[in-house]
């Protein structure tokens, strides 16, 4: 029986074209992801060498600690997981490497990567996109006429008369389609694992489970619509409209809402304040700056207020003021962004497309929160560097006294704590509700 249904199904041109197309785009998307990941990995691999050369060159050039530290950049790296290739998320917009000097951090930490805005706008064609956007379209294309094709082709009566259970026949037809589409998904994951060398870990399992559930949602939803036994045209229109709603209109509306509800003027404010906070100090009494500096770092009080026209102690105290005076705005900005993230996430729980997208990004560590984690870590990293170098600069320690070889790029330690309930529960609940609704419809169907 299954073989017949399969044969009949595979004979249709829609099925052939859409499955092959899906597989082809899926494979392309894996290679696009690979290209992105390769580029990131190549850059990161070069950073260590780059930093070493950079430090060596500058150490040879400058014999004053204060001047040397004016130039020296230190890198903090948020190494992308292999899964990034499958769900690039915000990684193309936000940089994965922070390369900073010990001067005002606020002036450095938001520097962007070089990007083609057209490419950003169009978005990445990664496997996540193929799964969230294109798989549902194929599911719709292959299931919308599950019943109506028989009705419109005149074979429905025969099916009803000849078989014991209409429901069983329909279920089998659905399973054949689901089986084929899941096979495509499986093949794509196998290719991805091979091509990208994905480690078989919990995150990957979560990724796969989530996508399987997401597709199950679409199957159950399509089957529910089909169970109303309307015409092919009606089903196609309804399902496509729902797809547009879930994949374009609703997420875009939420995005507009969040962007308008929470504008971030603090970002611009902080940028202006950090500049003025530092530069104004050149024109005011040194004591004012130094007092504020020692208020922040009482442990350095012993260095006093320098008399000389220029001293590195005063210079770095001024730089510090850039950060100190913009701290409030900077914090407000961070809170705004967190708010945006929270609102988006809470709305997403009831919209499967958004929900899956955000979770895939979480699993691949490519979400906005991951970037915020890097920014936070940058603060710590910067502070450590300052505390390490401040006394050496203030005492004008010899450049040679420092073991510069130890300054290698640092890596963000990642904690990927998977929340399985969040991965499984919301989608499963949705599928259960839809299944119950379908069951009610199908019972009526059996009664015919």
């Amino acid at each position: 029986m299954y073989r017949l249904i399969l044969k009949q199904f595979l004979r249709s041109r829609t099925a052939q074209v859409s499955l092959v197309l899906l597989l082809a785009i899926g494979i392309v998307s894996i290679f696009i992801g690979k290209q992105f990941l390769d580029k990131q990995e190549r850059i990161i691999a070069n950073v260590t060498q780059h930093q070493q050369d950079h430090i060596e060159r500058n150490v040879a050039l400058h014999d004053e600690m204060g001047l040397l530290l004016y130039y020296l950049h230190f890198s903090l790296i948020d190494q992308p997981d292999k899964l990034t290739a499958l769900s690039i998320g915000q990684r193309d917009i936000n940089p994965s490497i922070q390369s900073i000097t010990i001067r005002t951090l606020e002036a450095q930490k938001y520097d962007t990567d070089l990007n083609n805005p057209s490419a950003l706008q169009s978005g990445n064609l990664d496997l996540g996109f193929v799964i969230i956007y294109l798989f549902p379209l194929v599911i719709i294309a292959l299931t919308f006429n599950l019943v109506s094709e028989e009705q419109e082709g005149g074979t429905w009566r025969m099916v009803v008369i000849q078989s014991k259970s209409v429901v069983k026949i329909l279920a089998r037809k659905l399973f054949v389609r689901a089986g084929l589409i899941y096979s495509v998904l499986l093949v794509l994951f196998v290719i991805a694992i091979g091509v990208l060398g994905l480690p078989l870990n919990e995150a990957l399992t979560g990724f796969i489970v989530l996508t399987v559930l997401y597709l199950a949602f679409w199957f159950s939803f399509c089957f529910w619509i089909v169970s109303f036994q309307r015409s092919s045209s009606f089903n196609a229109l309804t399902l496509l409209s729902v797809w547009i709603m879930l994949s374009i209109l609703l997420p875009a509306s939420v995005n507009n809402y969040v962007a308008n509800r929470y504008p971030v003027p603090e970002a611009l404010g902080a940028m202006v304040e950090q500049r003025d906070g530092y530069h104004e100090k050149w024109d005011i009494d040194k004591k004012v700056t130094m007092d504020k500096f020692y208020e922040h770092y009482p442990e350095f009080k012993k260095y006093g207020v320098p008399d000389a026209e220029f001293s590195w102690l005063w210079y770095y105290a001024m730089q510090q003021m850039g950060d100190d005076e913009s701290a409030q705005q900077s914090k407000a900005m961070q809170e705004k962004i967190m708010q945006r993230e929270q609102v988006s996430r809470s709305v997403a729980v009831i919209i499967p497309t958004m929900y899956t997208q955000l979770l895939l990004n979480d699993l691949a560590r490519t979400s906005l929160s991951d970037h915020l984690a890097l920014l936070n870590k940058t603060n710590e990293f910067h502070e450590q560097l300052r505390l390490h170098f401040y006394p050496k600069i203030f005492e004008n320690a010899s450049v040679k006294s420092e073991d510069w070889k130890t300054f290698r790029p640092e890596y963000l330690t990642k904690e990927n704590n998977l929340n399985w309930t969040m991965i499984v529960f919301p989608l499963l609940l949705l599928i259960a509700i839809i299944s119950i609704l379908t069951f009610i419809n199908v019972r009526k169907l059996g009664a015919i």
Binding site: I25, I32, Q35, K39, I43, V47, H50, G89, Q90, I93, S99, A107, Y110, D111, T112, L114, N116, P117, S118, L120, S122, L125, F129, A236, L237, L240, I244, I248, L249, P251, A252, S253, V254, N255, N256, V258, A259, N260, P263, V264, P265, A267, L268, G269, M271, V272, R275, D276, W282, D283, E309, I337, R340, S344, M354, Q357, L358, N361, S367, L368
Partner: protein, 481 residues
Amino acid sequence: MKRSVLLLIAQQFWKNAFKTKSIFVMMLVVAVILSYAAYSGWKSYTVQNSIRQHYQEEVRKSWENNPDKHPHRMAHFGSLAFRLKHPLAMFDFGMESFTGNVVFLEAHKQNTVNFSEASFSTGLLRFGEISMAMLLQLILPLIIFFLGFASVATERENGTLKVMLTQGASWKEILLGKSLGLMGLAMLFFIPVVVVLLVLLTINESPDKADTLLRYTGTVFAYALFFQVLCFIAVIVSAVSKSSKDALMKLLALWLVFFILLPKTTQALGSYFYPSPSKIEFETAIEKELVTVGDSHNPNDPHYKTLRDSVLTVHKVDSVEQLPFNYSGFVMREGEKISAQIYNRHLNELLKTYQKQNSLTRITAFINPYSAIRHLSMSLSGTDFESYISFQNQAEGYRYTLAQEMNELQMKFISNAKPAPGDKPITISNEHWKEFPDFKHQFVDTGTSLQNESLSIAALICWSIVSLTLILYLSKKAKAV
């Protein structure tokens, strides 16, 4: 061809459309999206621009309020350039959300344009944004296909097509009449957008209203042409399909391929085939080249040594202290010139790579009318790639002028003699700060925008002609059964 018959068919088509409930549902959906899009476009435009203008003024105030100081300190104090939204950005967001909004301008250094909307965004921005342009580019085409798929195919299914033909209507009258009727329906959805946008643009206080209205008119014409093409395509597909179901499936497939799949794929392929350098690679390449042309901070650098010697010879003096201008200002002017040239050359190469990446999508305008209207609409709304590049260039131009102006002031007013320890630092009057003009973001002028989009305009006109030709061709070949 009789005009009265054509109009009759168009009228009939129009009337039939209102017999079903679905058109009212679509109108409701479009009304809701339009209201939301108009509201959020307006809000984002006014709020963002007022924030940016506010800070641009703050920055100016703080620039002018600087006390007397050494001009080179002012060159490092620098300025910030904020990107303003064009009034039509409330219609078409284009790339706005993905481009940075503010850049710090200082001597010796080209900074990145930071704080794009996307950098504050959760993954949701990837699903797109609701704008009036998006409504017209994505949703209205689908509605046209919904309304048009049955136009001829149903008449064929019902056998009424034969009746019409035997009663004397020609194929030409039927096809053009149906297209006209469908265009009428499309206008029903299009005109509210046109009106809402006009109202918003009129109540908006913008300096160059005439130009904005010119762009608006261009936009309206472009979309009208786009919808004409789509209406013709819908009728053609309906006429060549066996059944109305068949026509619907074909049109939906067309929509998916041309409006969703193709644009994304071509952009991805463009980036795949023309990889662009990362920021580190880009900066390293510039740094390497800068090293070869000399380091203005190094007194023993051969390039600057030669320069010094030639300057001394020309002025017939034997030390830089005797020169009639400040020598370190002169050296910095030279350094700024060289580094800016090198940077700009690399930047132009980078932009060329980006343009190559984009070219694949742009050229598809000839096989995909959506691509044509998308680019033309963005350009007319001042939210396209070129508008962004223009801002970047203006900001860099201002940065360069600022740095060089401060160098000139240094050459002119700062003495070559080093101050003795304990002396007051050498300063110049803060009157000079006020004399230096403020940064003003200028939008790309309409002529240039249109010129940039000549390809899209040509493609759109091509589409219009081809679709009309197809209808006329079909009216000779079509069969009633």
